[in-house]
């Protein structure tokens, strides 16, 4: 009777649910059960291999590794129905990653002997684990363990994350087996393909002829071209399933020393994948994209690249990259695009009359862009020495900034609705005017000034004379010192955006409109976190603008960050990742992008993490309120 409970549970979770009743029963008869309290490290990296495959019955675990530099890298969170210990079981040497219970956790344990037997008997079982776990490990290991930049190198990983069907489903060029070599070559030449499938009279594919066969078996050997083509075709047919990862196609090519593999779906031949296809696929990497940008010299050349950018982000996500890495890459690539547009503008308008710095702010300033990014930019130029120079600068940058704005629109950056752009004369000013702006906002904080500071104070220099931006940052930090009224007012503004309390009890979400019952992740989740972190950064005089870098800079100095920095970081990463995944989903469904998620679509673990993030935000908001009470009353 205890066994029945196990069978029932296993029958509801993959990959066990793919097994038949007898197999389930024999597993259940060999299972034990253990309990791990929250915080317990169940498996430790580099310990001897685990003796059990563990299936989570209740609770959840974190899979993480320690890098060479001692940094903890979270690979995965697993919840009810998920398994762990598989790799160390088949790896036989040592535990690859540490596993810690993030909640009181109950696991079923299947001993090694029976787990291995299952793998040998049911290929579906092994396949499931390899697909769901191994690729994640390979990706993370490559990209992070050795601190290799995601940006340069590592395009191999795409092989693990793209399916054959993504690149190789296309029309098949084929001839009947009775055709002569010459006829076959003619068909290949006509269709400009390097391989040809040979069918028999029953319409079954029986072989393949490639350029190599023509070269090695016909030309080199002086064979008669009127021989039947079946005499030179290659056997047996090596095939991959359309759903296989491209990596498997590569494996087969290497193993059989061939360059063409047939693609089959549902038993039917659907295409041929070639080593050339795979090389092209690897071209879809951030690195090749960066090169693409470098090679452009006109707006018309740059514009089509922005579509490709979204594809790359999709691939990175599928590879399981960390949210902060993804936004970093997006920002880096966007920066390159912007710089290129500026270069093109400089070529068109000639050298500027005075040095200038192009700055970005908002999410671009924080390097936290996701898919859809409005323009948020401005120009700081050096203070002109004479009225004539001032006039020249004004004229030059007015034209220049409009050209850049339009160029960026062409490259897929929509204009800012609130007109926070360099093309707005208000945001295209000499350094001294910028200083005056900032000083006014700080010393005479009113709602409008506060709003502007929330947006502009995340500025960073992106192109040109970066010293101008650095000087403005110094000025800002200097003048923020002891401006308690400003800080208190800013605190009161950001306190107004409370995350939905009781979110999971009563589902306090959007009450009406198109997004009834949904939650705006950007406004209710990321927003408050960004605001809190910016607030701390301004309070502490930190130069950094990205939220995570700000946290890093304050982790030993700011009392709240000392205590909660790590949790804030995790919450930020988590919500950002949820948001990016959501947008990628929408992009793949060709829906317009937004930030609204339906809480009922989240997994238990996701709900739990989101809830904890909200609780954290509330906790910090309360702490800030406590500290700045007096100022808020004044505000």
């Amino acid at each position: 009777m205890l066994i029945d409970e196990v069978i029932e549970f296993l029958g509801s979770v993959p990959p066990f649910q793919f097994l038949d009743g007898d197999a389930l029963k024999s597993i259940a008869q060999n299972i034990s059960m253990d309990f791990y309290p929250k915080g317990l490290v169940i498996l430790k990296q580099n310990d001897p291999a685990s003796e059990h495959l563990r299936i989570i019955k209740k609770g959840g675990v974190k899979v993480f590794m320690e890098s060479e530099s001692g940094e903890e890298i979270v690979i995965d969170y697993r919840g009810e129905g998920d398994t762990f210990g598989f790799l160390s079981l088949i790896g036989k040497d040592k535990v690859r990653a540490s596993i810690m219970a993030v909640d009181d956790t109950i696991c079923y344990l299947l001993d090694k002997e029976h787990a291995v037997k299952l793998m040998n008997t049911y290929p579906v079982f092994t396949e499931y684990f390899l697909k769901s776990h191994l690729t994640k490990y390979i990706d993370r290991t490559y990209s992070e363990m050795h601190n290799k930049s995601m940006f340069f190198g590592g395009s191999d990983r795409i092989l693990f994350t793209s399916r054959v069907a993504d690149i190789a489903i296309k029309d098949i060029v084929a001839v009947h087996e009775d055709a002569t070599i010459q006829e076959a070559a003619h068909v290949m030449a006509y269709h400009k393909v390097s391989s040809l499938v040979i069918y028999d009279s029953n319409n079954f594919p029986v072989g393949i002829v490639t350029d190599r066969d023509l070269r090695e078996k016909v030309v080199a050997k002086g064979r008669n071209v009127s021989d039947p083509v079946k005499n030179i075709m290659s056997l047996p047919l090596i095939r991959v399933d359309a759903n296989d990862y491209c990596f498997e196609a590569v494996l087969k090519m290497i193993k059989h020393n061939i360059h063409h593999v047939l693609v089959v779906r549902d038993g039917i031949l659907r295409g041929v994948i070639t080593n050339h296809d795979l090389m092209l696929l690897q071209g879809t990497s951030p690195l090749s994209f960066a090169k693409d940008i470098e090679n452009q010299h006109s707006l018309d050349g740059l514009a089509p690249l922005s579509d490709k950018l979204n594809r790359i982000i999709g691939l990175l996500l599928k590879e399981g990259a960390k949210a902060s890495n993804i936004t970093k890459i997006i920002s880096e690539l966007n920066d390159r695009l912007v710089k290129k547009v500026l270069e093109i503008a400089e070529k068109k308008y000639g050298a500027p009359p005075v040095p200038y710095c192009w700055i970005a702010y908002g999410s671009e300033g924080r390097k936290e862009q996701t898919f859809k990014t409005d323009q948020d930019n401005a120009i700081i130029y050096a203070d002109p020495a004479t009225p004539e120079q001032a006039e020249a600068a004004k004229r030059y940058f007015a034209e220049f900034s409009v050209f850049v704005r339009d160029g960026l629109v062409k490259c897929g950056f929509p204009p800012c609705e609130a007109n926070f752009m360099a093309s707005n004369p208000q945001w295209c000013q000499p350094l001294s005017v910028w200083k005056k702006y900032f000083l006014n906002w700080i010393t005479m904080p009113n709602p409008e000034a506060l709003l502007k500071s929330l947006i502009l104070f995340d500025f960073r220099g992106l192109y040109g004379t970066l010293g101008l931006a650095a000087e403005l940052r110094e000025y800002l930090i200097r003048n923020l010192k002891d401006q308690n009224l400003f800080l208190a007012m800013m605190a009161s503004v950001i306190m107004k955006n409370r995350p939905p309390l009781g979110f999971f009890k009563s589902f306090v979400v959007e009450k009406d409109g198109d997004h009834k019952d949904e939650l705006n992740l950007k406004i209710r989740g990321i927003g408050p976190l960004v605001d809190i972190i910016r607030f701390f950064a301004l309070e502490s005089g930190v130069h950094e603008t990205s939220s995570l870098e700000r946290l890093q800079a304050m982790k030993e100095t700011h009392p709240i960050v000392i205590e909660l920095g790590e949790e804030i970081e995790q919450a930020f990463e988590f919500i950002t990742l949820l948001r990016i995944h959501h947008q990628l989903d929408q992009m793949e469904k060709k829906e317009p992008l937004d930030n609204f998620i339906n809480p009922s679509m989240l997994s238990n673990l996701e709900k739990k993490s989101l809830k904890e993030s909200f609780q954290l935000i509330l906790k910090i908001q309360d702490a800030i309120t406590e500290l700045y009470k007096a100022g808020m009353v004044a505000g």
């Binding site: 205890l2 034990s32 059960m33 253990d34 309990f35 309290p37 009181d104």
Partner: protein, 222 residues
């Protein structure tokens, strides 16, 4: 390997006992429960025995023992309601003496664990003696006593688990520690519930310095 009970007929007692210096997280346990016709030592008897092995905190779901026997005394309607074993079912079963040896072998080398285990042991010892197997030598631990001890350990335990004084019966404890409970009492299911509670205790005990079986017996011996 270890003789924990003595058969007068074939004295197999090797004198070896369970190594009490074993850490509690790797020691062998048998968690057990019996269903009875009632609670009177003289008037009542055992209806069923359920037990399962644990190695440390790991419950070995595949190593269980469950037998329903023909009770020596009559099944009362009161007890039938509790365990849902009817007189006709029980009547078809063998007497307890036939399964006792198997059960004792099952317990070999393990610490016996149960909730209010002294009651089960009392009835069990009576039968062992009657059957001529001498006496049960296994050390035993009462989860109820372990629970009481943990409650006495101050804030850590009681604040986590609202350790105000409440019912100490098995199902109440199960609810407290979020161990799922369903259906009627059955010796094996109850042993399973006890095992899951004990599983959690092992973890907590380590925090309070209970490391070896010796430590455990000091606080949990009935």
């Amino acid at each position: 390997m270890l003789a924990l009970f003595r058969k007068p007929s074939e004295d197999v007692s090797s004198g070896s006992r369970i190594d009490l210096s074993l850490p509690i997280e790797s020691a062998p346990y048998v968690v057990m429960d019996t269903e009875l016709t009632g609670l009177q030592y003289r008037a009542d008897s055992i209806v069923s025995i359920g037990a399962m092995k644990m190695t440390g905190s790991r419950i070995e779901l595949n190593r269980t023992f469950y037998e329903v026997v023909r009770p020596r005394t009559e099944l009362t309607s009161k007890s039938i309601v509790v365990h849902e074993i009817t007189p006709s079912e029980a009547a078809m079963r063998p007497g307890i003496e036939t399964i006792l040896e198997g059960f004792l072998r099952f317990c070999e080398g393990a610490v016996i664990v149960g909730h209010f285990i002294s009651l089960d042991l009392k009835f069990l010892s009576k039968e062992i003696k009657k059957a001529g197997f001498g006496q049960l030598k296994n050390p035993a631990v009462d989860t109820c006593m372990v629970h009481d001890w943990l409650l006495g350990q101050g804030n850590g335990f009681s604040s986590n688990y609202l350790g105000r004084m409440e019912s100490k019966d098995l199902f109440s404890l199960a609810r407290k520690f979020e161990v799922p409970v369903q259906g009627a009492h059955n010796a094996l299911i109850d042993a399973y519930i006890t095992a899951q509670i004990f599983q959690r205790f092992i973890v907590m005990l380590k925090k309070y310095g209970v490391r070896t079986l010796r430590d455990l017996l000091r606080i949990g011996k009935p």
